[in-house]
């Protein structure tokens, strides 16, 4: 894990409320693995006070650059959406546990929801560049067409790709999880990797559990330190006996779906 100053090379609006930032940051670009994130200091001052975590969407090792895809949801992302190229930012990273990749050729399914697509783009690329490349099927769901930000970056890295939107404005109409049955029924899927809203992940996990397919999810939680020190970013995990909590920043953000206490995770949802 490095702490490093990185220059913002490009900022691009890729969809309404969605931005892609490219940083010149060779040390992190070289070490990063799919599923890891950076903890970014948005401002030199105290507003906002805490860093913001973003999954690494992409690295270009020869260029020494890395890309982040984000959606504007609050003050921090608002500031980033207006950041001028040439500005220097403080990045901690790469942080967290990456997606475990198979040692042998397998058929894998990626399930992305909204900006959850970011780490899966990086993963898709890595899976196909493995010594034993995987066959990658990609599913990408969002509320509407506009929110399928960077779908091209995902689809071009997949051997098969299907999109879904809740309003039917692009791809199949419905939830991305509605597509799972078909994928599984066709057979062949040996692993599932998913990132997106908790409700979606819970459903992916449920279906994988039922079908006994290995599944990893990338989770989010409010973070302070980002390095495992403050115990602020925990999620509940299953286990014998009492409730146990693991840190998203250090033990995750990637967790085996089977480890997560989905009941507690979703009890909280509206």
């Amino acid at each position: 894990m490095l702490s490093t100053s990185a220059e913002l090379a490009h900022r691009e609006q890729v969809a309404p409320e969605h931005y892609l930032l490219t940083f010149d940051c060779p040390p992190i670009a070289e070490q990063a693995q799919p599923g890891q994130f950076v903890h970014l200091r948005v401002s030199e001052g105290l507003e906002p006070l805490l860093r913001r975590p973003f999954s690494i969407m992409n690295v270009n090792i020869p260029a020494g650059s890395l890309q982040l895809l984000f959606r504007v949801v609050g003050r921090g992302t608002q500031i980033l959406a207006q950041a001028a190229p040439g500005t220097w930012f403080d990045l901690l990273g790469p942080l967290g546990q990456p997606f475990p990749v198979p040692a042998t050729t397998q058929e894998v399914l990626l399930v992305a929801g909204g900006v959850g697509v970011a780490p899966l783009i990086f993963l898709a690329e890595a899976l196909r560049e493995l010594p034993a490349p995987c066959y990658v099927r990609g599913l990408f769901g969002a509320r509407t067409e506009d929110d399928l930000a960077c779908w091209l970056e995902l689809s071009t890295r997949c051997d098969e790709f299907t999109a879904a939107t809740e309003d039917g404005s692009a791809g199949q109409k419905g939830l991305v999880t509605d597509l799972l049955d078909e994928q599984f029924d066709r057979g062949g899927v040996e692993r599932v990797y998913a990132c997106g809203p908790v409700a979606m992940l819970a459903e992916v996990a449920r279906q994988c559990e039922r079908r006994q397919i290995a599944c990893w999810v990338s989770l989010e939680q409010r973070m302070a330190c980002g390095v495992g020190a403050c115990l602020g970013c925990v999620i509940p995990v299953r286990g014998p006996g009492d409730t146990r909590y693991l840190r998203v920043c250090q033990d995750g953000p990637v967790f085996p779906a089977a480890q997560v206490d989905w009941e507690a995770m979703t009890a909280d949802l509206d």
Binding site: R41, L46, L49, G232
Partner: protein, 304 residues
């Protein structure tokens, strides 16, 4: 130029500690911060038995501050002694062990068992944690209970005893005096202010625990004020904390009467904050021809 300070016989190479709960047991920051440069490390609160802590969300950002409700998640005394302490010792800096319990007996047992452990510089009695249902803060809100608890722990340990005070009180000096009367060698202050945030979308509190402890620059004026008041009221050394990000912030506490300071939330903003504070204090002393940092302790009180 001498940055070293003494806290009740405990020698610190410089007056800058990292605050309890914000640097775990050191390991997470090892390799990225030169821990050996710190004045000392206050550990995350240790309890007798392992604790799972509070349900998430546990933290929430606020203007120039944050709320936390970790709730004493820690591996318990056994694991601390067997695994964490040996690793901590390797950094070669004073280790101040923050201890917490639900009952007086738990505090006493913790103190007794830590008394025999090697390489502990001091105990920091956490009687001010706002994030657990019973125990912790209750002791820190009433002078009588504070005096009684400190006195009992004092019996159980030869180590330097630091009592960490809660700011959630009407009169901080009464609590400070009670801790000193009970036999505390030093005081650290402040712990967090009890606060809460509401998620207006979901129409309920943001934190799983409903309330949490407010820390960061937002609370610095309260922390400096309490440091000033306590320094006036008691003779023992004070470790001041609350919102320190820069060496200037640290100087506010020192000039108000703190002999040492601790960086808490500042570590999250930037892991090297404490090291930068140390560098800044050194620079300041050189520029202002201050021979010993201790000459600045309480300087704002005397007009010094």
């Amino acid at each position: 130029m001498d940055l070293s300070v003494e806290i009740a016989g405990l020698h610190l190479a410089n007056p800058v500690l990292v605050a309890s709960g914000t640097c775990g047991f050191g390991e997470e920051y090892a390799g990225r911060v030169d821990i050996s440069r710190l004045g000392g490390i206050c550990t995350k609160a240790i309890t007798l038995h392992p604790r799972a802590g509070n349900p998430p969300p546990r933290i929430c950002e606020t203007p120039a501050g944050m709320l936390n409700a970790i709730g004493w998640q820690n591996p318990g005394l056994e694991v601390f002694l067997a695994e964490k302490l040996p690793a901590l010792r390797a950094y070669g800096v004073p280790i101040i062990v923050n201890v917490a319990g639900e009952t007086l007996e738990e505090y006493v047992e913790l103190a007794a068992r830590l008394n025999d452990a090697d390489g502990i510089a001091a105990l920091e009695l956490n009687i001010s944690c706002p994030n657990v249902e019973c125990g912790g803060m209750q002791f820190g809100l009433a002078p009588d209970l504070t005096r009684e608890l400190v006195a009992a722990v004092r019996q159980a340990t030869d180590q330097v005893l630091i009592t960490k005070l809660s700011p959630n009180v009407t009169d901080i000096t009464a609590l400070a005096q009670a801790a000193v009367d009970g036999g505390s060698d030093a005081l650290s202050l402040i712990n967090t202010l009890v606060g809460m945030s509401i998620d207006i979308q979901r129409r309920r509190p943001v934190l799983g625990n409903i309330t949490g402890g407010l820390s960061g620059p937002a609370i610095r004026p309260v922390a400096v004020r309490m440091t000033w008041q306590v320094a006036e009221a008691v003779e023992v050394p004070i470790i001041g904390m609350g919102g320190i990000i820069t060496y200037e912030d640290a100087l506010e506490f020192i000039m108000a009467g703190a002999s040492a300071v601790a960086v808490g939330t500042g570590n999250f903003v930037e892991p090297t904050t404490a090291v930068h504070v140390i560098d800044g204090l050194r620079e300041y002393c050189i520029q202002h021809q201050i021979a010993k940092i201790t000459d600045l302790v309480g300087a704002a009180r005397t007009g010094g």
